[in-house]
Amino acid sequence: METLYSVTVGILTACSVFLILRGRSFPVVVGITMLSYAVNLFLFSTGRLTIDGAPIYGTQEIYADPLPQALVLTAIVIGFAMTAYSIILAVRARGELGTDEVNQQDNSTEGNR
């Protein structure tokens, strides 16, 4: 299980890094979103992977660490809001600048208008 889990996180991270390094805003936003999934999975695994364990200390012999679960929950909420904001921003940038190149130079934008 550990191998599968870490391979998943690794592939997600690798793909997201590739996407973030692209020059257009849409792949970059998708890459950031994908990286946030990878990070959430990674955070979840920092409390070690347990099966059949309740996140309550003392009730069972095997118990899961509840803290990473709380951290992941916080990270998901924040990541979700940020993704929404960056998508809106990217869409507006596409509309107002007339291109979705992340690093469009000033003069060439003027030419497009």
Binding site: G47, P68, L89, A93, E96
Partner: protein
């Protein structure tokens, strides 16, 4: 009774004010929102002063949120450094908000509420004693800064905001990976507890924690704008409105604060295998950042961009000085930090005023028509320039002198002196050139007749007066910053105080 909750009040007051400001407030909401904002900022300032006095008396305030005991619950840990940073924030916020109340807040919606949320995030980041909570407050201040950077609209701001949001999102995700790695190795998120756990690591575990610690450096480096990660700053600060840029003068200092906190307390001199893992990096990057900023101001053709590069230079100075890792140098560094926060805030506002009154030529460094209040701005610019360059007699000179004095004579101080003095010379050249072109060589003929309101000039004057006050009271302030540094390097007291007092 209320003193017991003093640590959290500077965070709660801006939060409540922002929530109140979001209410509809009838036909003309703006005056009411301004009143709430100004009141809240004044109250925050008073509370920060009270907090500083209290901390000075007790040494440290540990406040367990929801009475969940440390290290399991989240604690606020306000030591002298935190209290000082919170006070700087509160002092900077008030003149900036006064400036903003002169119709700057009508350029976009909800400026007032976003401003308060921003203050709340910054205060929280300074106060917290839990590294995940630091992440949460980073997000609070970042989310409001994303919206504030867009304030006023326009396509140039849009592109810059997109860059800023993307690089900071990446930073946040790296922050989470760093925190996750540290938690996986040590099983705690409380900074004081982390400090004790890190000391006991060795071998593979230490290597993992080191990876986590280095990843945090990238995050704080993005925030503080250290060299390879500083490219977002000049464009962002020079494109946004003056009032937002002035408020952001404290934002880079949040990054510097986090570096000082994490790499002194957690990866500090007593962390055994992981002692001082980043200081060599900080040293080199700090020096290069200084010189990169100096090159930037030589190339700047716009006064806003020039001021933004001045911020980069001051960050380089702070980081290089901190990396020398001593009580004396850190004390001097903190003095310079206070000075540079106020003076860059004042400069951003001043440039905004000059750009407004110059009309068509705005803030470009070319000769233009005279301004309506030409002589006032000339004097203000002269004062600000003397302070930021570091010429005698103002606070910049005192700060740089303290930094140079605090280094012990060796090869490192040779490099620091060299870089600092070279940067100062280049600043002198660039700022003088800009000032003489814009304020001296004016075109003959009638002056521009658009005049900024008096209150805006008063706000700038308030910030400039702080530099003057820092010069007059340099010795008491220096004594305080040295006390801060001494407490900072007394690492053993943190776990003992946080872990026992957090339990009560």
């Amino acid at each position: 009774m209320w003193q017991q909750h003093l640590a959290i009040l500077p965070i709660l007051v801006p939060l409540l004010a922002a929530l109140l400001q979001l209410l509809p407030w009838g036909d003309k909401p703006q005056p009411k929102r301004r009143a709430i904002g100004l009141l809240a900022s004044l109250l925050t300032l008073i509370l920060s002063v009270a907090l500083l006095l209290q901390v000075n008396q007790d040494g440290m305030i540990v406040y367990a949120l929801g009475d969940w005991s440390a290290p399991f619950g989240i604690v606020l840990m306000v030591d002298k450094l935190s209290a000082l940073m919170m006070l700087i924030t509160a002092i900077l916020a008030l003149p900036v908000l006064i400036y903003g109340c002169y119709a700057e807040d009508n350029l976009g919606s909800h400026f007032q509420a976003l401003f308060q949320f921003q203050i709340m995030g910054i205060m929280g980041a300074f106060a917290t004693g839990d590294i995940f909570n630091l992440f949460v407050f980073f997000e609070v201040l970042l989310i409001s800064s994303y919206a504030l950077l867009m304030h006023g609209g326009g396509k140039f701001r849009l592109r810059i905001t997109l860059h800023y949001v993307l690089i900071n999102l990446l930073g946040s995700l790296l922050f989470l990976i760093g925190i996750g790695t540290l938690y996986g190795v040590t099983g705690t998120l409380n900074m004081a507890d982390l400090a004790t756990q890190i000391q006991q690591l060795s071998g593979d575990q230490a290597a993992l924690a080191k990876a986590g610690g280095m990843m945090l450096l990238i995050v704080f480096g993005i925030k503080a704008a250290i060299l390879p990660l500083h490219f977002w700053l000049p464009q962002a600060y020079s494109t946004t409105t003056g009032v937002v840029a002035a408020l952001f003068a404290i934002m880079t200092k949040v990054g510097v604060y986090s570096i000082v906190r994490v790499y002194t307390l957690i990866f500090g001199p007593e962390a055994n295998e992981l002692a001082l893992i980043v200081h060599d990096w900080l040293w080199v990057m700090g020096l290069i950042t200084m010189l990169a900023g100096a090159i930037g101001i030589l190339g700047a053709r716009d006064l806003r961009l020039l001021v933004a590069y001045l911020v980069v230079i001051s960050i380089g100075t702070l980081i290089a000085t901190y990396s020398l890792n001593g009580t004396a140098t850190t004390g001097a560094m903190l003095f310079y930090l206070i000075h540079s926060t106020f003076i860059t805030g004042a400069l951003f506002l001043l440039v905004d005023l000059i750009a407004f009154e110059r009309g068509k030529t705005a803030s470009r460094i070319v000769s233009g028509k005279k301004m309506a209040n030409h002589s006032t701005y000339s004097v203000m610019f002269l004062v600000a320039a003397i302070a930021i360059i570091g010429l005698p007699p103002l606070s910049g000179f005192v700060g740089k002198l303290m930094i140079m004095e605090s280094t012990s004579p060796n090869l490192m101080s040779f490099w620091l002196w060299g870089a600092l003095l070279t940067a100062t010379l280049i600043m002198l050249i660039a700022v003088t050139r800009a000032g003489s072109k814009m304020l001296w060589h004016t075109l003959s003929g009638k002056a521009n007749d658009q005049s900024a309101p008096f209150g805006k000039r008063a706000a700038v004057a308030m910030l400039l007066a702080l530099s003057l006050l820092m010069t007059v009271f340099a010795n008491p302030i220096r004594n305080y910053t040295e006390a801060v540094a001494e407490q900072l390097y007394d690492i053993e007291q943190y776990p003992s105080r946080v872990l026992t007092e957090g339990k009560e």
